[in-house]
């Protein structure tokens, strides 16, 4: 008790905090703010020292009770300090500090907050399952083994490892999946430079890539012969291909044929094709403007299905390199296609002569499964934010997966398929906080009215806020002009170039239950120290007038005398 209230503890605690904070700033300058925050400012050690600071201030005040008027300034200051520290603690525990990226027109009610979380989704056989489970991962500076259990439907997973900084490593394994897998690594070169491109048929997004204006597509289940037939026939709109057949759909017959049906559906502001095809494997639905793969359930694309629908008429509009299942490739531009055999390692030229386009196949791996493993890496210099990864393992509820090490990262969506066909999808991303309102960006205004300079002078967002009780209101958020909604405050923080050529707005969302305490505490600290110093000064003056009245006379006389000697002005 005596020690807790002592001045000596105060000095020790202050010195320890100063030392830790110094280390924090050095770490920050090397590894960035996030790392320093986790390693120092939010670390158990720092919080413990802070706790002792709090105890010390508290007891220092308690042992000086009952109150004496002489110590008024002391009590006020120390009470203020307690309020500030406690307020800071409330902010750390209950405060929300998130970000919203708004593009013009989007309505958003989720704010991204700091840290990372595991997003695990179970995809049913033929219907998108609503079961999405979000699990917050520990805030760690280094590899941790949380052994957290994640329950989703009847399944149970364990988070075995979490790596806040990781590097990917591939390992290959003989595939025993039904659909044959294929990974192709191409090196594309033009007059301007080279680029390595990886394509695979393992999911519905990794079979396409771009190289400048050129599109590159891997058609995993389509043979070149089928494509060639269609390419020679200018009337073909779509090519349908699966294990059993190769069907060409023309404009004339597609609309009325009994086993195909094409109609326009609305998607946002545009109209896209929806194609229904009766095949040997049953009815397949395609949105060929979005993907060559059929959809499963309501929205999900099925990259594993052998059926593909190619919108050849719209493909003819852009230059495209196509790699087929049967080790042939084609280059097409404005409806003219050339077909060749695929040769490993030897460069193949294509396209207009002056572009000097060429490519070679670095590797073409089939019937192997590529597994990505993640390894921890040491802290990095500030510039690069390294990937994060986590290792899951199935605890119970399902048949085993193709691989029992289930790696998830923030770089891609991982898909896990069990041997009996259950599909899970997982990724790491910042956790989100659901706001009690939704917000829409109506207009983002970037002002550069400093003439003679293109640097922004101010930026602001005109927004509409929608509340759950159907109330709607419009506001302006600008620099130094935040918007308060209930417990939340929205700040203009930054902007980004959005896809439609305009700017999107980045807002900071903040709820701080400790705010009033911190403000009141700050006020008390200032008033208290002022009171304290004034009290001391007055006390001193009283003493001085009492004691030193007489003996200063001689000194004053001497000083004046010396002045006349030295300053001859």
């Amino acid at each position: 008790m005596r020690f807790l209230a002592s001045l000596k503890l105060a000095i020790i605690v202050l010195a320890a905090m100063a030392l830790l904070m110094t280390t924090g700033t050095v770490i920050e300058s090397k590894y960035g703010a996030d790392y320093a925050r986790l390693a120092i400012y939010n670390s158990p050690l720092f919080l413990t020292v802070e706790f002792f600071l709090f105890l010390n201030i508290l007891f220092a005040a308690l042992v000086r009770l009952p109150p004496k008027s002489r110590l008024a300034g002391f009590y006020i200051t120390h009470l203020g300090l307690l309020a500030v520290i406690f307020g800071g603690f409330l902010t750390m525990i209950y405060g929300i500090d998130g970000g919203i990226e708004l593009e013009s027109g989007n309505i958003i009610s989720l704010a991204r907050v700091q840290g990372s979380a595991l997003y695990l989704r179970h995809i049913g056989d033929n219907e998108l399952h609503d079961g999405l489970k979000t699990t917050a991962l520990p805030q760690a500076t280094d590899e941790v083994f949380p052994n957290q259990i994640v329950k989703l439907d009847h399944y149970e997973f364990v988070i075995e490892k979490y790596l806040p900084r990781a590097r990917a490593r591939y390992k290959w394994q003989a595939s025993n999946a039904n659909a044959p897998s294929r990974y192709v690594t191409l090196v594309l070169a033009s007059a301007y430079g080279e680029q390595q491109i990886e394509l695979s048929n393992t999911d519905e997004t990794s079979d396409t890539a771009t190289f400048g204006p050129l599109e590159i597509t891997l058609l995993p289940n389509v043979k070149s012969r089928c494509f060639e037939r269609a390419a020679l026939d200018a009337r073909t709109n779509f090519i349908f291909s699966d294990e059993h057949e190769c069907r060409l759909l023309n404009e004339d017959d597609s609309a009325n044929s009994h086993n195909t049906n094409v109609k326009k559906v609305r998607l946002g502001h545009s109209e896209i094709d929806k194609v229904r095809i009766e095949s040997h494997e049953g009815e397949k639905i395609f949105y060929p403007d979005l993907s060559t793969h059929p959809i499963v359930g309501k929205y999900a694309l099925d990259g594993k299905a052998s059926a593909q629908l190619i919108p050849i008429s719209s493909w003819n509009k852009t230059p495209r390199l196509v790699l087929f299942e049967d080790e042939r490739w084609a280059y097409g531009s404005r409806g003219k296609w050339t077909f060749s055999d695929l040769v490993l390692d030897s460069p193949q030229s294509f396209g207009p002569k002056n572009m000097r386009l060429r490519f070679h196949v670095e590797s073409d791996i089939r019937n192997q499964t590529r597994l990505t493993e993640w390894r921890p890496i040491p802290p990095q210099k500030i510039e690069a934010t390294p990937p994060r990864a986590a290792l899951l393992r199935l605890n119970k509820g399902s048949t085993p997966f193709e691989d029992d090490e289930l790696w998830v990262s923030d770089q891609e969506r991982s898909v896990f398929r069990s041997k009996t066909g259950e599909v899970f999808e997982a990724t790491l991303a910042p956790p989100v906080h659901r706001l009690p309102f939704a917000i829409r960006l109506d207009e983002f205004r970037l002002r550069t009215d400093d003439i003679g300079s293109n640097a922004p002078s101010s930026y602001e967002s005109a927004v509409t806020v929608f509340f759950s009780n159907n109330a709607v209101s419009q506001h302006l958020i600008a620099m130094n002009q935040p918007l308060k909604i209930g417990d939340y405050t929205l700040y203009q923080s930054s902007y980004f170039p959005s896809s439609n050529g305009n700017y999107g707005s980045i807002l900071t969302v903040n709820a701080d239950p400790g705010r009033s305490l911190k403000y009141a505490g700050s006020f008390l600290v200032v008033t208290g120290s002022l009171t304290h110093f004034l009290q001391r000064a007055l006390e001193k003056k009283r003493k001085a007038t009492a004691n030193v009245q007489n003996d200063s006379q001689l000194g004053a006389h001497f000083r004046t005398h010396r002045d006349t000697l030295l300053c001859r002005s």
Partner: protein, 510 residues
Amino acid sequence: MALIFALIATPSFAAVDSACGPEWDTLAVLEGGRVKPLAIHARETMKFITGTTKPGGITATKVYCMISFATIFPNLFSPLEIVIPVKHEDNRIDFKLTDNQQGIEVSRLLPDLDKLENIAAKLESRDGLTPSTKELKRITTAARLYSEIASGDNWLIPTLSGDDNVIKRTTLREMTANSAAPEHLAAALWSANKTYRTQYGDKYLWELTFENAHLVHWAFLAALIALLVALSCSSLSHPALLTSLLAAVLLDTTVIIFRIVISGRAPMTNMYETVLGAGFIALVTAAVLSKLRSEKIFLLAGLTINMISLAMLLFSSSMLDPRIQALTPVLRDNFWLATHVTSVTASYAVFALSWLIANAYLIRSIFFRTNAETLRHSASLCYDCLKIGILFLAVGIILGAVWADYSWGRFWGWDPKETWSLITLFVYIGILHGRLSGWLKAERFLPATAAAFTSVLMTWFGVNYVLATGLHSYGFSEGGSLFLALIFAFQFTLLSVYAVVSHKIFQKGT
């Protein structure tokens, strides 16, 4: 400085004279969102390119103007040869410079400038920003700036758009489009300038008056005289002392007021202005304190700090950039700027006073005899400074936190400047509590106070000059960190010597 300058006689020298004469100093140009006199813009750009504001003894305005005119009218004007200084040995070898060449001629750089910029970028991505790469980047930037001046794109003339007299910018190149002769171009420039001045007045010329008056030099001189007078007078109310003190304070105030009027904002936005402000506040606080406590040592300390700060402004322009520039959006709030930054700067100023008084005692006790009375007295003076400094710093930190909460939604974010200001506060509060607890008796309190000022220097300069460069060993050779290193080295040598000496005194005592 580093410069070889060849002004080749031109066929129509009269035209040159009529084109870029001394009165061209007053032409209004736009730069970084501000309207300023051509002379100021020319001096700033020439300083950047050649390292001096008077290349080859010719005024910056004339050189700037000639570079533009020589490109526009190649038949009438011969090109000027501008030399960009090259100091790093690696770069000097790469540019094949002989010992009597101070730098490289721009005309040699321009043809391959793109390639050189590429090389600099590649070197930076390969080895980081080494001193030689940093200089190479600076050289390419200077050459790029030169080519912008030559093309006329750098010379931005404020012109008024037809109906509502809104300022827009026209480059010299655009203005050249229908000028067949330099006389026409000059006439167009002056007529545009007249239109601008009729609408918006001559306020921008204050900057030229301010620059040409060299007020900082005068303020430095005044502080020096006041210090000498104060040293020779023991009476605080001696007319000579009061007059010289008043002159120093007034000159400081004039400098600050000029900067407020020119920039239209609180004069607390960059390192230059905080050093200026701290010097001023130190002097005023010291004057008030010495009056209140009838104590001359405060005044001496205040004048010395004031002189040091003005000397820093005069002699280390590479560390403290004197240019008046437009602000980033978030700082454009005069209330918070004026209160938060001023409060923190005031604390730095008062801590600087305590630092000087403490060090004065340390030096005295090492080289001269001191007694217990001097020790107790110096400690009590420092204690007064510490109390005021802590109050200012605490208020400044709180105002900063409230501003951050108001503008960014966070009260505290462990940003290095924030953290270091808190470290400084903790260091000084620690000393205060140490004194109360009896751990820091006067003979330890004074060295602790002297040492504590290093935390102020870290917050003030170290965060920008040491931490921001990522603690790279080669970043250390630059102005800011070298300055800090020297002060730290001096301080810790002094403290160690004091420790040894005071230990001996202590042993003799027992």
